[in-house]
């Protein structure tokens, strides 16, 4: 295993509530470049909300999120968006590809938003996720597994420092799920990106560098071998 490198994401003492309802509190977390961390927990414990807070898509009532050493949670919305555009990649349970764009254009989307179109890089990613030759197809012509590969390619095409994956295999059968996880891990390693993987699957978590379990107490280290 490669030694951990510089911290990409640092969260300190995060607290979040919806009105009177507390979602989580006192959450601290650090991810380093190239590291794959799995986050497990029961439904409704706040995993996705935490992910949104880490991405600056949701606000926190307490604590601080630093992304690439910048205080993401304290930045104004346009600066948050700009930092997210540059430094984050996302993979969702639902694939969320734009139906009116081709597969290649979907993958190219983050580069387009950054104003750095790069067809060669898009082709490179498509080949890497096993979709070479399918770039001109419409999303509706692909299977679920293929669509998630498109999402992974899109998450990595702009070389983000951190990929946030929210149950990326939730809509896939076990065989395809395993393939997609392996692909995500391999690509993150290859690109040097850290990855925070939210999952219900202990099997999926087993492939991570380390695992965290989220519950009412906060985040606890968790080991699949111990369960």
């Amino acid at each position: 295993m490669n030694p951990p490198r510089h911290p990409v994401l640092q969260a300190r003492g995060l607290g979040k509530r919806y009105g009177e309802l507390p979602v989580f509190s006192g959450i601290s977390l650090e991810l380093r470049a190239g590291e794959l961390v799995a986050l497990l927990g029961e439904s409704g414990c706040g995993k996705s909300t935490l992910l949104n807070c880490l991405a600056g898509l949701d606000s926190v009532e307490a604590g601080e999120v630093r992304l690439l050493d910048q205080p993401l949670s304290a930045l104004p919305e346009p600066a948050q968006a700009a930092l997210r555009r540059r430094a984050l990649g996302f993979v969702f349970q639902a694939f969320h590809v734009l139906p009116q764009l081709s597969v290649a254009d979907n993958v190219a989307l983050p580069l387009l938003l950054l104003g750095r179109p790069d067809a060669a890089r898009v082709q490179q990613l498509l080949e890497a996720v096993g979709l070479a030759g399918l770039g001109e197809r419409a999303p509706r012509q692909l299977s679920g597994g293929q669509l998630q590969r498109v999402a992974i390619a899109r998450a990595l095409v702009h070389r983000p420092a951190l990929v946030l994956a929210d149950e990326p295999t939730g809509n896939l059968d076990p065989r395809h799920a395993a393939q997609v996880l392996e692909l995500l891990r391999a690509q993150c390693r290859q690109e040097g990106a850290a990855c925070l993987l939210v999952t219900h699957s202990e099997r999926a978590a087993a492939s991570a560098d380390r695992c965290l379990r989220m519950d009412a107490e906060g985040l606890q280290p968790w080991s699949p071998s111990a369960h």
Partner: protein, 850 residues
């Protein structure tokens, strides 16, 4: 501020594929903007072109004299004045003018004749320089222009002649109570545009008109830098004729503004269609915009992107609309006069398009503004969405619902604004009031839909339960669905009621003003181009003939009222002297006053004169200079009468009082009642025989006059029916587009219902029933709003625009038909849209990503 570079890139890479995917709906929005701009700009351009042409012709006729002088008392000038004036210091040139209006035979069309000193006038009126025909030029010596029998016509006058062009023209006219005829040699043409015009040498004109040694005015050109000399006694300066164009522009302005407002209403209806299309497209795109938000498109950038898309749509729609408007105007100039058939500009001459930058920018800008306004709501939603929530399918940010009091408040505010007085002679406050009423009505749609839904029983039947729930939850969307059709229906109802009321009032007015069986007037022109009086011997012969049971004379002439306080010029009005045996047969409005002092004669100003002079019943009014010795008549305003034949001031006076005060026994029109059993055709033939030259008189029966008047009325309003149809069509297109989009956005819901056992037919019925609830609410509101707006049109807009009051009359059968047709069309549209949208694979929609 979002940089233009990235925005352009995003538009190309993100918006363009989206627009292509929704090509049909985007095209509809584009069409709505283009159509609205085209109609509004077309009406404006058509009128601008006609007015521009008229004013250009006026400028050509008037040239650029520095000073125009006429006799102080209004009579003729002696023809030694030009030489005397030329000798004054600072005067460079002085040119005499003699003018008359004659009738060109055989058609007896009016022909304006100018007698000029060609050599002097041509210096500053080149368009009036006589140009011999090419085939006569060789024979024409340098003095040919001065030949006393030679006349030169402009293009409009030449078009009245038969082909091949005759060598001579025949003229007929009336002067000093005598009918005269003459034949002149057609020697060439003049360039002047506009209405039919003839030019001849002043000496020839004086001889022709029997006015030797007389002039009507003298035009002066001053030396460079010279100031106007002091005016010799007996002369006064008069404004150049160009002012007449301004008068006509003012006269036709109200008509044009009304038509333009109607056209803008079509654009306004289009705006709701744009809003519906944009907001539903944005609703469909919310997850996609949310994804872009997650990937790093900031809230401001999403806002800018949606607005930029709308701006592009608006620019394209405006450009198409301006092109279409120019095309419509060109077509209109070919088919109608520039006044759209109202007759206000009098036709004559072929108009060309007068395209100016400012209206182009204004109407283009309106199209852009409409598109942008329609997109503000969706852009706001895109800006304020929580991307992560939307991606999870946990609902999008809804536009904040307006407070419940806003709808009723706008309705009340609109009603209040509608009764404010005119601004600058235009009912702008009333228009603003109508806009407030429409917006207020739209805001009242959701509560009305909820109220209608609550009336449905819905506890035991799944369909009814869904219907009730939909009425409650989807009431906000109903306003979007119905916006276009509600506005269009309200405006159509308003126009229908206003036109029906106007027509009914006009019909009644005609019957009151034209009680006789037959009317006779001169076909010839006389003083100041007005209809000549009938020859006295003809009137006497008719009285003696026994052809008619009863005869009443009418005298009409222009008189000058003394300048009002703060005015320099006297106010010219039309005076109508006719017998008033029974006041109740006059179309009087408002109260009748008794004489404030003994010896005052009763006078009846029309509504325009009442408004101009602020006259009220009981006010005293003096009419100076009625007779040749300057006799005056002292009178009082007995009552105000309704006058649909003119928008300018007119005063009606009992004929006997007029005759006594003025001694003027001339008669312009005869009102004739036939003896019982008399054959109208035989009486008309008898009258023609009495006239000597049969074509010098015009006869028309009351039935014909009624038919002609109503035909002209219908022609004037034909354009408005088309505009109503277009507005309604746009509204229905809006229903189709909105409903299709709503069905598409509810495909998961419908798919789930299919899973639960609903058949396609049941879904279609459900959709149709939902639409029925919504359109019923819209139709009821549209009807109510339309009636309110019609009251504003009848009681405020028309009196303020034209000085015409009228009585409100409801065409109940037509209103019911319009309502039924709109409801049926909306339901048919809903059924077709539902059939198409529900025909797609709904079962798959449940599993779809989005």
């Amino acid at each position: 501020m979002v940089a233009l570079g990235p925005l352009t890139r995003w538009l190309r890479a993100l918006s363009w594929p989206m627009a292509r995917a929704q090509a049909g709906r985007q095209l509809l929005a584009l069409l709505a903007i283009a159509l609205g701009v085209a109609l509004a700009y077309g009406v404006q351009l058509l009128n601008d072109s006609a007015l521009g042409e008229f004013e250009a012709a006026q400028r050509q006729l008037t040239g650029t004299p520095d000073l125009v002088l006429a006799a102080e008392g209004g009579g003729a000038l002696s023809d030694d004045w030009p030489a005397r004036l030329a000798a004054l210091p600072g005067v460079q040139q002085s040119a005499p003018v003699l003018e008359a209006t004659l009738n060109l035979l055989p058609g007896r069309q009016g022909l304006r004749l100018l007698g000029l000193d060609a050599l002097q006038s041509a210096q500053f009126r080149p368009a009036l320089l006589p140009q011999p025909f090419v085939d006569q030029a060789a024979d024409a010596g340098p003095l040919a222009l001065l030949a006393p029998d030679a006349v030169y016509l402009n293009e409009a006058a030449l078009r009245l002649l038969p082909t091949p062009r005759p060598s001579h023209i025949s003229l007929r006219w009336s002067a000093q109570g005598q009918t005269r005829s003459a034949s002149l040699r057609l020697a060439g043409r003049v360039e002047a545009a506009g209405a039919p015009l003839a030019v001849m040498d002043i000496a020839g004109a004086q001889a022709l008109l029997g006015r030797l040694g007389e002039l009507d005015r003298v035009e002066l050109r001053l030396a460079e830098g010279a100031t106007a000399p002091p005016l010799p006694a007996g002369l006064k300066a008069v404004p150049p004729e160009a002012g007449r164009g301004e008068d006509l522009a003012a006269l036709s302005r109200a008509y044009r503004v009304n038509l333009s407002v109607l056209a803008l209403m079509a654009l306004f209806t289009g705006a709701f269609l744009v809003f519906a299309v944009q907001s539903l497209a944005a609703a469909q795109r919310q997850p996609q915009l949310a994804l872009l938000g997650v990937l790093g498109l900031s809230a401001r950038e999403r806002f800018a992107l949606v607005l930029a898309e709308a701006a592009l749509l608006g620019l394209l729609g405006s450009a198409l609309g301006l092109l279409g408007g120019a095309g419509l105007a060109a077509l209109g100039l070919q088919l109608l006069d520039g006044d759209l058939g109202s007759g206000l500009l009098g036709g004559g001459g072929q108009s060309r398009l007068h395209i100016e930058l400012l209206p182009l920018l204004i109407y283009g800008g309106l199209g852009l503004a409409v598109a942008m306004l329609g997109a503000i709501g969706p852009a706001w939603q895109a800006r304020h969405m929580a991307p992560a929530q939307v991606l999870k399918g946990l609902g999008a940010e809804l536009l904040p619902a307006p407070p419940v009091w806003l709808g009723p408040f706008l309705l009340l505010a609109g009603a209040g604004l509608a009764w404010l007085p005119a601004w600058g002679g235009l009912p702008l406050a009333a228009y603003l009031g109508m806009l407030c009423m429409l917006l207020g009505g739209l805001l009242c749609v959701p509560p009305l839909v909820r109220a209608l839904g609550a009336l449905l029983p819905g506890q035991r039947h799944a369909g009814l339960l869904l219907l009730r729930q939909r009425a409650r939850e989807g009431a906000g969307e109903a306003a979007q669905l119905l916006a276009g059709v509600l506005v269009a229906l309200a405006l159509s109802v308003a126009m229908l009621v206003m036109i029906y009321s106007f027509r009914a009032s006009l019909s009644q007015w005609l019957q009151q003003m034209l009680p006789a069986d037959l009317y006779v007037r001169s076909a010839l022109r006389g003083e100041a181009g007005l209809r000549a009086p009938l020859p006295a011997e003809f009137v006497a012969a008719v009285q003696r003939s026994g052809l008619v049971r009863e005869l009443q004379p009418q005298r009409s002439r222009r008189i000058a009222l003394p300048p009002a306080a703060g005015e320099a010029q006297p106010r010219w009005i039309t005076l109508l002297a006719r017998p008033v045996p029974d006041e109740s047969r006059l179309p009087l409005v408002g109260e009748r006053a008794s004489a404030p002092a003994p010896g005052l004669q009763p006078l009846y100003p029309n509504e325009a004169l009442r408004d101009q002079l602020g006259l009220q019943p009981g006010a005293r009014l003096s009419l100076p200079g009625l007779g040749p010795q300057g006799q005056a008549l002292e009178g009082y305003v007995r009552a105000v009468w309704r006058d649909y034949s003119r928008q300018s001031g007119a005063l009606l006076i009992p004929h006997a009082d007029y005759l006594r005060a003025s001694g003027d026994a001339e008669v312009n029109e005869l009102y004739l009642w036939l003896a019982p059993g008399a054959e109208p055709g035989a009486v008309q033939a008898g009258l023609r025989a009495l006239a000597g030259e049969a074509q010098d008189i015009e006869q028309v029966s009351s039935g014909e006059l009624l038919a002609i008047s109503l035909h002209i009325f219908d022609r004037s309003f034909a354009v408005s029916y088309w505009l109503q149809a277009i507005a309604l069509g746009l509204g229905l297109v809006g229903v189709a587009a909105t409903l299709s989009a709503q069905v598409l956005s509810r495909r998961r819901e419908f798919g789930l219902l299919r899973h639960l056992g609903f058949s396609r037919a049941q879904l279609r019925t459900l959709l149709l029933a939902e639409t029925a609830v919504q359109t019923t609410a819209g139709a009821l509101l549209g009807l109510g709003l339309g009636l309110a707006i019609s009251a504003v049109l009848v009681f405020v807009v028309n009196p303020q625009s034209f000085h015409w009051s009228m009585d409100l009359a409801l065409p109940t059968a037509r209103l019911a038909a319009l309502l039924a047709a709109t409801l049926a069309a909306a339901l048919l549209t809903a059924w077709l849209a539902g059939r198409r949208s529900l025909g797609q694979d709904l079962l798959r929609a449940v599993r779809e990503d989005w």
